[in-house]
Symmetry: C14
Subunit: 89 residues, 14 copies
């Protein structure tokens, strides 16, 4: 019946769970970044003299991939800090 | 019974969960972007002199992929900020 | 029992969850677009002089793939803005 | 107990969730279209002079694949706009 | 308790959810069609002069695959339009 | 409590959900048919002069695969039309 | 509480769901049959003169695979037609 | 509360669901049999003169694989016909 | 509330579901046996004169794999026939 | 409410479900054993004269793998026969 | 309501389920051990004279892998025999 | 009914679960980092003299991947320490 | 309602389930260790004279992998033995 | 209703479950570490004289991967020991 639980506590509980789900968006990207790092190591191993170029490409590609996790982080922070204030529950 | 929870709190809780689910759309794209970054590193490693062309293709492809995460972000922001106002609950 | 929650709030909550599920349609497409971007980088790396052709093919293929995410976005927006008005709940 | 929720609201809520599930049919197709786009880029990279033929094949194949997402979209739109009218709830 | 919800609304709600699940049958087929389109692009890229034969094979194979999604569509339409009439609820 | 819902409505609701689950049997077959179509395109691309043989094999193999989806369709139709009559609920 | 639902309706509902789950056994077999069809097309494409042998092997292998779906179909039909009679509910 | 449902109906419902779950054991075997059929087609295509040997090996391997589905079928039939009698509910 | 259901019926229902879950242990083994059959066909196709050796190895390997499904079958039969007697419920 | 169900029946029901879950540990091992059998067939096909060595290695490897399923079987048997006695419920 | 079930029975039921979940840790290891056995067979097939070395490596690797399943077994046995005593419920 | 549980305890419970879900974001990244480490070992094995370059690339790529897990860790720590203070429940 | 179950029993039940979930961390590591063992066998088969080096590398790599399962084991043991004491419930 | 369970017990139960979920973060990393160990064995087998370099790279890569599991362990320990003290429930 959840009778003893205030509306504020219900929203805070949902936001906590939601913030953690939003962080999962980083799961796919991190796997992808790891694959990119592996491919870069492989490429460096084959052409050590091009390691500068390869590393730059890897960092650039990973940085763009990182944006997805950052979007998730932003939403998580909004859920934990901003929304409760705005909601003015 | 959820008797003590107001309608407003119920909608806020649902929106919080929904915003975080919408962020998961970035999971697939981020994995894809990582794969693209890996392939680009591999290509640069094989043809360092074409690294400009390859990087440009990678950024272009990743940017289009990024749109999916941005759609998710837009929906998440609408769910957290716009809808409560419009609903005029 | 959900006794204290109005019908309007119930529909709004369902629509919020539904809008976020609809965004997940972009997950597969984004993964596919990333794979396409990776293959394009690989192809450019092998034939830098054909990078114009390859990039054009990549953009065309990704644009068609994008339609799926856009359908999801349309349904999400209908769920958040249009349906409540039409329902005239 | 859901006592305070009208029959109309219950059906609207179910239809909203159902419309979003129907959109997920696009997930597999979009992944497939992305794979097709990647293969096309690869093929163009190997035979740039045949890019017209390849692009035409890609568009044709993706268009047929698209039909699945469109079926899902049709069902989603029926669920959101047509069924409530017909049901005459 | 769902006390306030009529039998008709319960069946309509179930049918809506069921119609959307039936649409998911298109998910696997669409992925398969995309793979077929990719293989066709690859084949055209290797033998551009046989593109007519390849495209015909692709369309034929995809058309047969399409039948699965169409079966799903038929069941979805029966669920939304025909069954309520027959049930004579 | 589902008190207000008649036995007939309960069975109809279950049958609707069951009919849609039965349609999912087509998911695996459609994916398989798509793979078959892709392999056939590949084979035609390598031996265009054998396209008649290949297409015949593909159609035959896909037709046998189709049977699974048809079994699912039969069960779905029995669930929607035949069983309610027989049950004589 | 499901108070208003008769025992007969409960068993019929369970049987309907069960019949559709039994049909899912065809999912794996259909995927396998599709893979077999694809391999057969590939083999015919490489050795068109052996297409008779290959097709015969494919049909034989698919027929044995089919048995699994048929077992599922038998159980589904027993669940829908035979069991209610035997149960003498 | 399930108050209106007899013990017999409860066991029958559970048995129906259980019988269908037992049939799913055939899913993996059918996928495996399909893979075996595909490999056999491939082998026949490479060595048509050994098709007798290959087909025999395939049938033998598939027959052993079949046992798993048959075990599932036996348990399903026991659940539907034998157990209710033994239980003497 | 399950008030109307006897303890005996509850245990019988659980055992039925449990027996079917135990059968799923055969799923992985059957997939593995199918893969083994496929590899054996491939090996026979490459060395028809060693088909006796290969078939013997396949049967031996599959027989050991079979044990897992048989363990599951034993537990399922214990659950359906032996345990109720021992429990002396 | 489960009011009518004795503590003994509750534990027996849980143990039945638990025994079947423990059997699933054999699923992975059986798949692995099947893969091992396949690899052994392949190896025998390539070096028929070493079939004794290969078969011995396969049996040894499968036997060690088997231990996992046997641990599961032991726990299942403890759950069904030993624990009820010890618990002295 | 679970009113009629004693605290002791509740803990025993949870422990039974937990013991079976702990056994699933063996699933991954068993799959890995099977893969190791397969690789060993392959290696023996290629270098029969090194079968002693290979078998020793396989047994060593599998033994270390086995530890995971043994940890699970220890926890399962603690859950079934030790904890109830210590808890002194 | 959860009547005896205070609002504070409800939020603390949700935060605990949420903190652990947020840690799962590290799962994908850790898998990716392991793949990167494997590729680096492979590369070092092929070009031992470039091991410095390869190791540097691996560490750089893994460090960027690590950020995802760190974001998850930050959110988990906020959920456990900061939010309860801010919420001022 | 769980009225008859003491707080102590509730925590013990949760801890039992949690201890078994913590053991699942060993699942991934065990699969990885098995893959490592397989690769080591393969390597030994190719370079029997380096079997000492290879085995040492395998044991070292597996030992580091083992830490994950040991962390899980530590948490499981804390959950079963230490926490109840500290909680001083 | 959970009426008889104190707030403290509810939080302790949630924390126990959460601590075990946090340990699952080690699952992906352990799989990755195993893959890294396998690749290292392979590399050593090909270049035994570089085994020092390869082992060093493997240990470094696995150590960075290990951090994810350690983060999970830290959160698990905070959940079990620190949070209850701080919460001052």
């Amino acid at each position: 019946m959840l009778q003893g639980i205030s509306s504020e506590a219900f929203v805070l509980g949902c936001s906590a769970i939601a913030a953690s789900i939003a962080m999962l968006a980083g799961l796919g990207g991190a796997l992808g970044q790891g694959i990119a790092a592996g491919k870069a190591c492989e490429a460096v191993g084959r052409q050590p003299e091009a390691s500068g170029e390869i590393t730059r490409t890897m960092i650039l590609g990973q940085a763009i991939t990182e944006t997805n996790a950052i979007y998730g982080l932003i939403i998580a922070i909004i859920l934990l800090f901003v929304q409760p204030l705005l909601g003015g529950l």
